[in-house]
Subunit: 117 residues, 2 copies
Amino acid sequence: MSNTSSDDIQLAEMFKALGNPHRLLIFQRLSNCCLPGTRCDLEQTMRFSVGQLGEGMEIAPSTLSHHLKELHRSGLIKMSRQGKRVDCWIDPAVLNRLAGFFYNPSENEMRGDRDVG
Amino acid sequence: MSNTSSDDIQLAEMFKALGNPHRLLIFQRLSNCCLPGTRCDLEQTMRFSVGQLGEGMEIAPSTLSHHLKELHRSGLIKMSRQGKRVDCWIDPAVLNRLAGFFYNPSENEMRGDRDVG
DNA sequence: ACTAGTATTCGACATATTTCGAAATATAGA
DNA sequence: TCTATATTTCGAAATATGTCGAATACTAGT
């Protein structure tokens, strides 16, 4: 692989992490920071404990832990112990970085909300 | 896995496809539709033949073909034979869909180009 | 110190992925 | 039809991943 920067490698790691349905579901739970229609604050990123994230997913706790570790290693989520629990959340900068990767500047017209008002 | 729609599964497939450095590089080559600073037309998506996409990547043709098939199966790229060659390109709608997945509406301010002038 | 709740590490196993070379297929042109 | 170019298909081998259960670690209360 000649032409691959370390930046690209980290991107690939993130995509690989999202490439598993269980991990994608976890990521979606964390990124849906407010109820539909609601609007949540910038500083108020949604946090879930490991146990909460596993609710409804039929996987063993050890498997859940493994997936969370993958998400964390790739840089997609942050984790920090809060008493008995470990909280997980998404750094908003990560969402910007990923959205920016796919954002095609030639398609401004299609978004229709950027022009001078 | 209780809570996973077929839509989410297809998303996961796309991310999995992008999770390989070789495939990510191919995808980037196809999505950089114009030179830096330039602006390319909507209808004029960038096309590269299989051989062109493999240039500079040190992988066997059969491996390249395999990766292209993965990208195609996941829905990330389109392919069509053009004489001796097979051309590849990205459906712009795919870029929108993926960008939309990461786009966080609570972060308008961080983009810095939306407020009243 | 003991216990209960929460989460991680470890070892094992089945399955999937990446990669290649050799052979096969498709196309255009002499 | 024969040849050269472009790409795919087909095994096969090495490595990686997803999953679990059992054992371990961390924390807050009693």
